[in-house]
Structure formats: C-alpha cells, structure tokens
Symmetry: C2
C-alpha cells in the first residue's frame, strides 16, 4: 500500500516527464520543424500545456500533500514536497480562465511584437503589450495574496527574491559600473576589432571543440543551430544550440560557451534527482550564474583566450590579430551599443537595470504601456550617454515582455552577481585553475562548479546554494572588483 507521499511522487514523476516532453517539442520547433508546421505545433504545445495545467492543479496533489507529515521525510524528500507544494499552490491560485487568456494573448503578442520590430513601429505593439501587462498584473494579484505584485512574478524565476532587495543591489551595482564605463570610454586604449571572414563549418567544428573543453557530455546532449542560441532539456538529454556569423566568430564561440554553462548545470545534477522536481536548475539566477561564469570569468579570461587564440590561428589562419594579448583585448572590447545581447561585460548589466526599473513600474501601474517607448529612450540616454535611433534598437529589441516575462530580466544580472561570488571563491579553492585554462582545459573549474552548485539541482533554495558555495551571502563586490581589475588592466584605467 503506497503512502500519500509515494502516490504524490509517482504522479509527479509523470508530470515531470510530460514537462520534459514539452521541452523537446519546443526544442524541435526551433531546430528541426518544417516551416509549414507552425500552426500544428502550437496545437501540440497547447494540448501538452492543458495536460500539465490539469496535473499541477489536480486536487489529489493537494490531498496527498496535506496527508504527508514532513517530519517523516528526509531532506531531499522535504525539498521535493516544498517544490511540489509551491507549484501546486501557485497554479491553483490562478483561475483557469486567466491562465488560458494569458497563453492566448501572449502567443498573439509575440507575433505582433515581431512585426512591430520589423517595421520599427512601437505604436503597433503598445495596445497588445497593454493587454499583456493587464493580464500579468491580474495574475500577480491572484498569486500575491495582497503582497507585492512584482515580487509574485519574480518568484517564478528566482524563488525567495524580492524587488526591493534587487533595487538596493542594483543601485550599488549601477554606481560603480557607470564609473568604470566612464573611465574606459575616456581611455586612449583602443583594442583591435576583427575584420576577416571565418567559414561556418570551421566555426561549428571549433564550437564542438569548445563544448568538449568545458566538459559538455556528448553522450547526454547535442549541438545544433538555431536563430537564437538556447539550452533545452534535463537529466540525460540536455541540448544546446548556437549560431554562426561569418564576420563575427565570437558570436558562435561565446554563445556556445554560454549555453554549455547552462547545459553543464543540467547535466551535472545528481542523477538520483532525474524525473523529480529536484532534477533541474533551481532558479534562473543560478542558471545564469553558470552560463556567465563559463562565458566570461572563464571563457573571456586571459589564460583561456591565450589558448583560444592559438586554436583560432590553427583553424582560420592569420586573421589580423597580432598576438594573444591583442586577442584578449579584442575579445573584451568595450564599445557603444544599443543591444543588450551584444553588450560587453561592463555595460551588460546597465541594460538589464534599465529593463528592471521599467518593468517594475509597468507592473506597479506607475507606467502605462503607451508611455514605455519614451521612458525607455529617456532612461537610455541618461544611462548610456547617447540616443536610441529606432525602436528595434531600443524598446522593441527583446522578446521577453511580449511573451509576458516580467520579473525575468533581473535574473540575468543576479546571475552575473552570483558568478562574481563563485569565481572569487573558486579561485581561492582551486589551485592551477589558470594553468589549466591556458591549456584549453576548463575541467578543474567545471568540476568545482559541479561539486559546489550544479549537482544539487533543486535541493536547496537559490540563495543557500550560493552561500554554501562561496561562504558568504551573495554580494555585488566580487563581480565589481573583478571587472575593475580586468578592464582596468586592459584599458590602463
């Protein structure tokens, strides 16, 4: 006779499996699907979402939880109970009518956004954005039980984090980032830029080599191309994608290393957690900490770029960069740009902070969707010192808001902050890290991250994971100190 908790886990196992199936269907949509199948695919995903919604809100889940005494469970079981309860309680708070309207409107809004961006016409997007904001505010009200609306949304991506805490953190971050950026842009140092053509097939070969160097397990994953790079999957099937631009090999190189970071996290989770709620990355912030530390603190480091320079010379021949020092400066060039996803390490977080403040104002009801473009442009000029030339370089550049993602952007910067903390701790604890990186081997770093962060999956709350790994609460100083030192040296400031 199964206990209620055993029945809960058995039910949950199929729910996790079905949610992983949904992930595969989405992966296939971006990589393999014939172009004529889009409408049919939307029906598949909607049918799966219907099944998953029914399972998340199934009254038996509540009954099994209520009949389970947490004191009788071990730590991993308690963590499972906590996560299952959290998802169940959130799901039952949102009326089915609202959940289905959000799905319908965001699906439409994404199409409207894509067209508005192509036509550089914010006014064409504003009405549907207004609808999306209205629906997500309604959802936040249902979720928050009278608490802060933005926090209720944020909690989906970074459990336990609040907007107020982020605001304080981001305020401190912004001050020092702006100061560093101003010093860099005032410097006379001008790192070289690439001006060469890099064949696609050779870039993809290099991408596979990089994934291997960073410990990506090919027996549990694969690498394909997609318009926007992403990572998909859990457990023994974690797939990454990359993209290739013939004039900009760093796009492929650093997209690949970034996604390998996400992929390594999922691949590194304790296999005992497979097909349970513990068997996936614990939050978007912790996830991004892995992708960013792989990409930046490791992949854009002087030792690793020294090895990469040699490999790129071997693969592509002379591409106009004199030596490894010039290559390192080239990889880490800081320049003016409108686009978040193309930003350097110094300015990236300023892009995120702008979005955080604007989306909080939208959800608080302090900013109307129709006024968003003006608010964006004003803030951008103040933060970056030059003016947005058109909406596709400004308020329309990201897909997130059109698909209803509010509370998601700040996890990018939180991930960078976590990565800063982890990097400092790792450098204290792992001898020979730089020597290995200089030989193209990120293995020691990857092993430390797997041990300290990745293997835990959802076992501990995000903040606890970072604290346990670093020995202190998450803090912005390590990131800022790292950036000051690194870019100070490159730019002589």
């Amino acid at each position: 006779m199964a206990t209620p908790f055993e029945e809960l886990l058995a039910f949950q196992r199929d729910t996790v499996a079905l949610s992983e199936v949904s992930g595969l269907v989405s992966w296939d949509q971006e990589t393999m699907m014939p172009r004529g199948a889009a409408a049919q695919r939307a029906e598949w995903l909607a049918a799966l979402e219907g099944v998953l919604h029914d399972r998340r809100t199934d009254p038996r889940v509540g009954d099994w939880i209520a009949a389970t005494d947490p004191a009788a469970l071990n730590a991993a079981e308690q963590a499972q109970l906590r996560l299952i309860r959290r998802v169940h309680e959130r799901a039952v708070r949102v009326p089915a009518r609202l959940a289905s309207e959000i799905a319908r409107v965001t699906s439409r809004a994404q199409g409207v956004w894509a067209e508005a961006r192509a036509k550089d016409d914010f006014a064409a997007f504003a009405p549907v954005l207004d609808e999306v904001v209205r629906l997500r505010r309604e959802e936040a009200a249902a979720l928050s039980n009278g608490g802060d609306a933005y926090d209720a949304l944020l909690d989906d991506y970074e459990p336990g984090m609040t907007g107020a805490e982020l605001q304080a953190l981001f305020g401190r971050l912004r001050e020092r980032l702006v100061a560093l950026r101003d010093r860099i842009l005032g410097s006379a140092v001008r790192p070289p830029a690439l001006d060469h053509t890099f064949p696609e097939a050779a870039q993809l070969g290099l991408a596979r080599e990089l994934a291997t160097a960073f410990g990506y397990d090919w027996s549990k994953g694969r690498l394909d191309r997609s318009v926007h790079p992403f990572t998909s999957g859990n457990g023994a099937d974690v797939r990454i994608t990359t993209r290739v631009s013939e004039r900009d090999p760093f796009n492929c190189v650093y997209s690949t290393i970034h996604e390998v970071g996400h992929g390594a996290y999922e691949q590194g989770i304790d296999p005992a957690f497979a097909l349970t709620v513990l068997g996936r990355g614990v939050s978007m912030g912790v996830h991004e900490s892995q992708s960013r530390i792989y990409e930046n603190q490791l992949g854009r480091s002087r030792p690793f770029t020294g090895w990469l320079f040699g490999r790129m010379r071997a693969v592509f021949g002379d591409f106009g960069i004199a030596d490894a020092d010039a290559f390192y400066a080239c990889v880490n060039r800081v320049g003016q740009g409108y686009i978040r996803t193309e930003a350097d390490e110094v300015q990236y977080n300023l892009h995120v902070l702008l979005r955080f403040d604007l989306e909080r104002a939208l959800i608080a009801g302090d900013l109307a969707a129709t006024d968003l473009e003006e608010a964006w442009n004003t803030r951008f000029a103040a933060d970056f010192g030059f003016h947005v030339d058109r909406p596709s370089n400004g308020v329309l550049q990201d897909v997130h808001w059109s698909v209803g993602l509010f509370g998601y952007f700040p996890t990018y910067t939180l991930g960078n902050v976590y990565a800063g903390c982890l990097d400092a701790a790792m450098r204290r604890e792992v001898p020979g890290l730089d020597a290995a990186l200089a030989a193209g081997d990120a293995g020691p770093a990857a092993a430390w991250l797997r041990e300290k962060v990745q293997r835990h999956g959802g076992l501990y709350p995000p903040r606890e994971v970072i604290e346990a790994a670093c020995g202190h609460a998450p803090h912005e100083d390590p990131l800022l100190d790292y950036l000051d030192a690194k870019f100070g040296a490159i730019y002589g400031v």
Copy 2:
C-alpha cells in the same frame, strides 16, 4: 452551449495532438536522441501513453458518443464518430492491468529479441515470446467478445479485414507467385549485379532529388538517417528517414521512395482533417499500398529506372552497368535470400505469407512459441527450396513479434495487392504516365493517387477507398498479372 458532439471533438483534438507528440518523441528517439538518454526516453513515452490511455478510456467519451445522434451529422462527422467510438470501445475492453503488462513485457521482449538475434539463440527468446503471445491472446479474447482472436488483433491494423479472407486471398496468391518464381529461377537470364562503391553524401543528395521527383513536400517534412527507415507524423509535419550503404545504393534509393510513398499519403490528406481522427492513413494495408506503388510499380518501372540510370551516371560516374536496359534488369534481379526486407517483388509476399500462417497458429494456440523455430525452418524450406542457416536469417530476423505485433505482417501483402489494383486503374486513367516517369517526373501518378486515395484520410473504410479508386473490389489478379508481365519480359519466361 456546446453540443455533446462538439465537446467530443474538442476533447479528441487534444488527444490527436498528444498522440502526434508521442510520434515526434519516437522519431527523435531514432534520429536525434543522445545515446545516454534511452532510459529517460522510455519514461517520457510511458507517461504520454498513460495520458493517451486515460483519454481513450475516459467515460465522458462514451457519454458524449451516447448523447450524439449520428443522423444529425454530415458524412465526415459520422466517420469521425465511427472511428472515435471504435478506438474508445476497444480501449475500454482491455483492462488497465493487462494494457500496462503488455507495455512492460513487450518493452523487455524487444531487448531480449535483439540480444537473442545477435547471439543467434532462439531458445533465449522463446520464453518471453511465449509471454507476449499469452498476453496478446488474452487481449484478443477481451477485444473479440467471443469472436476470432486473430481477427480482433488484425482489426487494429486493417479494420474490417478477417483472417479467413486473407487466407483465401493468400492461397491464390501463393500458387501463382511460386510458379513465377520457379520459371524465373529456371531461366538462363542473369541480370548484372552492382560491384562498385557509391559515396554516402552523393547518395543522400540523390535521395533528396528522388523525394522531390515523387512530390514530397519539403515545407511539411524532412529527411534524416536512421538504422531502419521509417515515416513519422501527420498533417503538416511528416518526416521520413533513409539509410545509406556504400556498396548498395538501391538500399537508399528504394528505401527513400518507399518512405516518400508513406509520407505523401500523410501529406496528401485533406488539411480540413488535421488534428482529427480522419487526419491519418486509414489502415496499414492502404498505407503500404502507397509506399509500394511508389517504390515498385513506379520506382522500379522501366521508364523511371531509365531516368534514374542517367542520374546515377551523372552523380557517380560509370558504375559498371552498360545501359538502361541492363540497369532495369539489375534493379529487378530475383535471387535467393533469407531476409524479407531485402526480397525482390516476386518473392517478398512469400516471406509474408509464411509469417501470416505461423502467427495465426500462435494466436490460435495451435503452435507453441517454443516450437516456432522448427515450424519456421520447415516452412521456409518448403516455400523457398533451401534451408535457413541460422535464426538471425530466419525466425529472429523481424522485430514485430517481440513488440507484440500480431496481425500486422499480412498488411504488407495486402498493400501489395491494393497497389496492384491501383496501378492497373491508374494506367487506364492517366495518359502520359510513362512518358513523365521517363523524364523523372512522378507528378501525374502522385496526383492521381492523392485524388483517389490519399486525400480521403480516414473518411472511408479501407476496402471502400480501394474499391472507389479502382472500380472493383480488391483482387490479387492485377498484381499477379503485372508481375507475370514484368518479370516474364526481364527473364524471358
């Protein structure tokens, strides 16, 4: 307020979508899945099967059907009601305990079979085969309501067909096939064989060209490689696979054309039937009629092989076949062989007839699983005139029985009989067919088949589809007359 029938269709739409998702997950397993993900994939498929089983047996389906008056429906709606009822009634007749045991045992049996085949050890397979037979007999008893057990299983693959009818048909077929085979093997004519290496990439390029020549719609499909070629999907997402052997390009060529026939059927179904039970091929026999007429009556015809010879000369250079007539004879060589899937058009059906009689005896309880190897070898020697040398060339060559497929084999030959009828009718009705084929254009043939067969999907029962297309009830004579004429000419007999 939705009518019960409208509620039924809405529910059914998601069921179809989820079943198509399951098809994608299986396709991915054979083409894209990392090798380490097999166990996880089995859990995904089991979870999906659980959802689908719950939906097929959902009591609301029975209620909605009972509350619907067929007289108030149009023809397409009546066909939907008929098919939905059929699936529901069959599903509820099988106890959940039995369905789950069949899934569990056949999953294990497939592994045991693969190992037994690799070791050429039938005795290692016999016990689990005995279990599979026992379970399928139990299922057949539940399904048949006291009727014939084999018919109950056959009905899953070829609705409306009976074992007795097939036995009569196959008896007539066997007599003339054996006579033709004996004339051919007694002839002094010896068509040339290939002895050359054909690079893989060039074969795959030719495969794409062939798919295009046969009207495969690339906007709704794709071509990949797999160990065993197959077709997967419905509606706007119908995928085919092929395989490549450097020493035998006909493997790739005719596997591709065969799967294009299956794929064209699915792609050719009226788009109005998408995401309904009408939106897929109506039976395995009709499905096989499309793949076989593409492969044989069209793809192995003198006009088309004339064009193919020119293309292969252009792609591969001189490969040792003197001219188009010699190439045609080479493509259609009749030889001695153990393996069904490698058999020529004349002997293929003899392989199937052997399996049909043996599996009927197994299901009837007249043959024990432990005695199957001896029964196979005795029958093979009688039918083919030489002896099976080892189980992997005999009773262990096909996967079907290990996964519980009883009643499936005869649909292969039924498909050939249907293809013979369709070919005769098509040649009467389509002027210029051979001239187009000689120019590498199967378009006129494909258009006739789409109009007469493919577009109907599940609208009419299988026998009605063939009758309406050919103007007469399915009959073996057209196939036999075609084979007599074709091989009589090649072999001068």
